[in-house]
C-alpha cells in the first residue's frame, strides 16, 4: 500500500501535536514536516515530497488563504486540505475557489481527519459533514443575485454616475452642466446605459435604480 505523506501547518503547537499523534496511529501516513506559518512552510523545502498539505486558515495575524495562489502555483501537484476552526460558508467558498481539495473542522474526531486525508489522496474532494447544513442554507439563498445586478456590473463608473443622476430626476442638460460634459456626451451615455441594462424607458430606469438601491 502506498504511503501518504502529510505536512502540517498550524500556529497552535498543541493542535499540531494532536494531529501528528492521530496520523501516526495509522501506518499509512508519513509526516514530512510541520510549520507555524506560510513562510516557514515555503522555506521548509519539504513540499516537493508531500502529497497532502494540512493547512489552517488563521495563522497568527495572517490568513493563509492570501498565500494560496503562491502555494498552488509553486506546487501544482500538492493537494490542500484545510483544517480550520472557521465554519462560515462564504469563507469555505473562497477557499474552494482558491483550489483546495478538502475542508474539515478542527473539532472533528480523528477518524474524520484520517478519512478526509485518504479521500483527498484518492483524488476526491472532501467536506466536513458538520458543514453541510450551513452550506446548504448558503447555497439556497445565494442564488438571489438577479439578472439586473449582473447587468449593472457592466456599467462604467461614469455610467453609474449618470444612471444615478437620471434616476434622481435630473435632465440631460442639468447632468451635462454638473459633470462639465456636453449634452451630446450625456445622451450617448444614456443610450449606452439603457442598452446595457436592457431597458427602454425612463420609468423602467427609475424602477431599476430603486430596486438596486441606487435611489
Amino acid at each position: 500500500m502506498n504511503k501518504i505523506s502529510v505536512f502540517i501547518t498550524d500556529d497552535h503547537s498543541l493542535f499540531r501535536n494532536g494531529v501528528i499523534t492521530a496520523l501516526k496511529e495509522d501506518p499509512t501516513f508519513i509526516i514530512t514536516g510541520e510549520a507555524e506559518s506560510v513562510l516557514e512552510l515555503l522555506q521548509s523545502g519539504m513540499l516537493e515530497n508531500t502529497d497532502i498539505l494540512l493547512l489552517d486558515i488563521s495563522l497568527k495575524e495572517q490568513s493563509s488563504l492570501d498565500s494560496m495562489p503562491e502555494i498552488t502555483s509553486r506546487f501544482p501537484e500538492l493537494k490542500i486540505l484545510i483544517l480550520s476552526m472557521h465554519n462560515k460558508p462564504m469563507l469555505i467558498k473562497k477557499a474552494i475557489n482558491l483550489g483546495i481539495s478538502g475542508y474539515i473542522l478542527k473539532h472533528s474526531p480523528p477518524e474524520t481527519l484520517l478519512h478526509a486525508v485518504k479521500e483527498v489522496q484518492a483524488g476526491r474532494k472532501y467536506l466536513d459533514p458538520d458543514l453541510s447544513d450551513s452550506i446548504f442554507t448558503c447555497l439556497r439563498n445565494s442564488g438571489s443575485g438577479t439578472e439586473a445586478d449582473a447587468l449593472y456590473n457592466n456599467l462604467s463608473a461614469r455610467e453609474q454616475e449618470i444612471f444615478r443622476m437620471l434616476a434622481e430626476g435630473l435632465t440631460p442638460p442639468q447632468i451635462a452642466k454638473q459633470l462639465f460634459i456636453s449634452r451630446k456626451t450625456v445622451d450617448n451615455h444614456r443610450s449606452k446605459i439603457m442598452s446595457k441594462l436592457r431597458i427602454d424607458s425612463s420609468a423602467r430606469l427609475i424602477q431599476l435604480a430603486e430596486k438596486l438601491g441606487v435611489t
Binding site: 497552535h12 493542535f15 488563521s58 473562497k94 480523528p110 477518524e111 445586478d149 463608473a157
Partner: protein
Amino acid sequence: MKKIFKIFLDNSNALLIFITMIALVLMINMSLDSSRRAGRNLINAVSLYTDLLNTDTTLSTKEVKAILEQFSGEYFGWDNENINILLEELNSDPSAVESHILLQFITGYQQLIEERLQSFDTLLYFLGAGVIIQFIFLLVITHKAKLTGRQLRNSEEVLRLLSQEREKERLRISSFLHDSILQDIGSLLLTTEMNKASIAAGRLREISGSLRDLTYQIAPLQLNTTGLRDSLLELANDFQKRYGLKVSCIASGYKESFLDNKSRLVFYRIVQEALNNINKHAEAENVQIKLVASHPYLILRIKDDGRGFTDIHTSNKDTGKHLGMLLMNEKAKSIGASLSGESVPGLGTTITLKYPIKKRG
C-alpha cells in the same frame, strides 16, 4: 413670564445684549429730549410772533404781555423783568420791541443749534459706546461658541476613539477565543482518550460549536478574508435562521477594493446594528440589504417593511432615545460617510449609508 425669565437665564448673552439695547435707547432718548424741547419752544415763539404782527395795534398792554410771556422760557431767557422793560419800551418805541424780539429769535436759534449739536455729540458718544459694548459681547460669545464647539468636537472624538477601542477589544477577545481556547478544545478532541469517551467528546464538540458562534458574534473574524459582500450575505442568512426575518441581500457593481479594513468593518457593523434594531423594534417581516456602487459613492441601504417611526430625525442625545442611530452615525462619520434615515409610520424604515469611494487614495 417664568418662561421668558428662563430663556434669559439659559442665555446670559441674550440678557446682556437686551439690557445694553434698552440702556442705549434710553440714553438716545434723553439726549434728544432737550433738543426736542428747544425745537418746540422755537416753533411756539415763531407762531406767536406772527400772530403779534398780524394783530392790530389796538392790543392792550396786558395782551401784549401775555404774548410776550410765551417767549419766556428756557431758550429765550425772558423773565418777567425783561418783559416789563419791553412793555415800557413798547409804549415809547414799538420798533425797538420788534428788534428785541428778533434778537431774541436769533439767540434762540443759536441756542437751538448748539443744543442740537450737543445732542448729536452725546448721541454719537452713546452709539460709539454701544457699538464697543456689542463688539465685546460678540467677541465673548464667539469665544464661548468656539469653546463649546471644541468641547463638542472633543466629545465626538472621544466617542469615536471609544468606539474604535471597543472594536479592537472585541477583536482581541474574539481572536483569543478562536486562537487559544477553541484550538485547545480541538486538539483535546483529537486525542484517542477523548475519542473513546464519546459522551464527553460530544459535549465538548457542542461547547466548541457555541463558542465559535460567540466569536463570530463578538467580531467578524472572517470579514476581511471573505469580503463584505459575502459576509453580509451570511449575516442575512444568520438573521433569517435565528429570528425568522426574511432578509435578502444584493450587491451591484461592488468591488472589495472600494473599502479598506476599517471601513469594511463599519459597513458590517452598521448592517448588524440595523438588523438588531429591526429585530427588536420594527416588527418587520422583510428586510432588504442593498449594496451598490454608484460612482463616486458606495451606497448601502437597509430597508424594512416594519411599523416605522415618526421621529427618526430627532436623534435625542440626552435621552439616548435613538442611541442605535446615534452610534451608527458616529461610525459612519469616522470613515467620512454620511448616514441618513427615512421612516414612514406603517410602511417601514430605510437606513442609507453613502460612502465617497474616491476619497481614499
